[in-house]
Symmetry: C2
Subunit: 246 residues, 2 copies
Amino acid sequence: MDFTAERRLDDGVLERSFTLGGIPGILWTPASASAQAPVPLILLGHPALGLDTMYPRLAARAARSAADGFASATIELPGSGERPRWPAAEQARAALRRAMAAGEPVTDEIVDALVLPLVDEAVPEWQGALDALLSLPELGGPVGYSGGVISIGVRLAVVEPRIVAANLYAGSFVPRATFDEARQVTIPLHTLLQWDDESNDRQAALDLFDAFGSAEKTLHANMGGHTGVPEYAGDAAAQFFTRHLR
Amino acid sequence: MDFTAERRLDDGVLERSFTLGGIPGILWTPASASAQAPVPLILLGHPALGLDTMYPRLAARAARSAADGFASATIELPGSGERPRWPAAEQARAALRRAMAAGEPVTDEIVDALVLPLVDEAVPEWQGALDALLSLPELGGPVGYSGGVISIGVRLAVVEPRIVAANLYAGSFVPRATFDEARQVTIPLHTLLQWDDESNDRQAALDLFDAFGSAEKTLHANMGGHTGVPEYAGDAAAQFFTRHLR
């Protein structure tokens, strides 16, 4: 893990860019974090739009978590941003665009091709990032996962025991395999659904919430469209992590 | 409005029983409430089980609201508790019990007979209680409504302009007329759904949430059964009122 840049933000948060085996990432630590007082870590998931595009939203979420005493970290997804192009992913996206442009149904095959290779590739990368991040003396357990891609969050919740709580965002395309994995999830879950987000499948989000095996699971549905998550919904998610990462 | 008893609870809350035109009720005011510093009021809705039965849950909700600086008040529903028996309501309940015992569907006719007369009778009573309560110098606006019966809460949200925010609990039986009224609701709403509560109709709760006309509406779904609303769900509802009644 090589730190490539760092800067101190207005609120005292230390923002460090890093690369890990060629994968770019960002780590935000609150001013209070030190080897003597390591802080819990939240992994910030995001859609495959590239870290540069996602930066403002990720940085805002990291600032909020830092105010609650948590570090945050994220890495670039395979095929996104500055990472090498990934022909299989591009073909899957092209197939999706063709179907949508033609007004045809988005079949299970298209969704599987779009999401499952991404999950298979990304999840070990997030686990590798977790290894490297948790070796830093200023970071301690436990770890939370927050954000999309929901199929990545679900897989991580199942396979990664260091993740003890997850805040998952409803996703547009959910493979059947994710529903099967959801039944194996047992960690506390907080899930967000933008009710009137036409780019999400509301019924799939409700079905997925129903499928989760967790004894503690909460669904918060709000208005405001895809990027219009109200501030109080962010507050509720922050309180969820404060309950589970402290 | 005649006060019939009063006592000071441990947390300084003043609990007063009253009757208003023969309807029993309870008013809880925080220690801080005075004519110089009137506090907002939350009307506490409840199912038709009688105030004595509901008292522990209502008192706990009132204590929480008092800690946030709000008064709470509730009145007995028609035909419940010490109020005169109401043959129409008892016939409707008997018809419901017969259908459920026989494993027959609960028809729209049964639901309408069970709920609509109750709404028609209760809503003007709650409005009358509001007139009397708001004439007390220690109570000021604005007013919130919190709890069931959801059809009463929906009607009040439509017809009573002094109610500026409502926290509604998913209900077991929702008449079609309530869905029509829901479209006319425009005040901010916070709604609670116990996801695995077999005595509630989950799909009806989701459909009703969808129907509400409010630009700000939030659905919080949790596990824990009918009376197992988690403490953090109560916190979220309290934060909703703090946003809208301050």
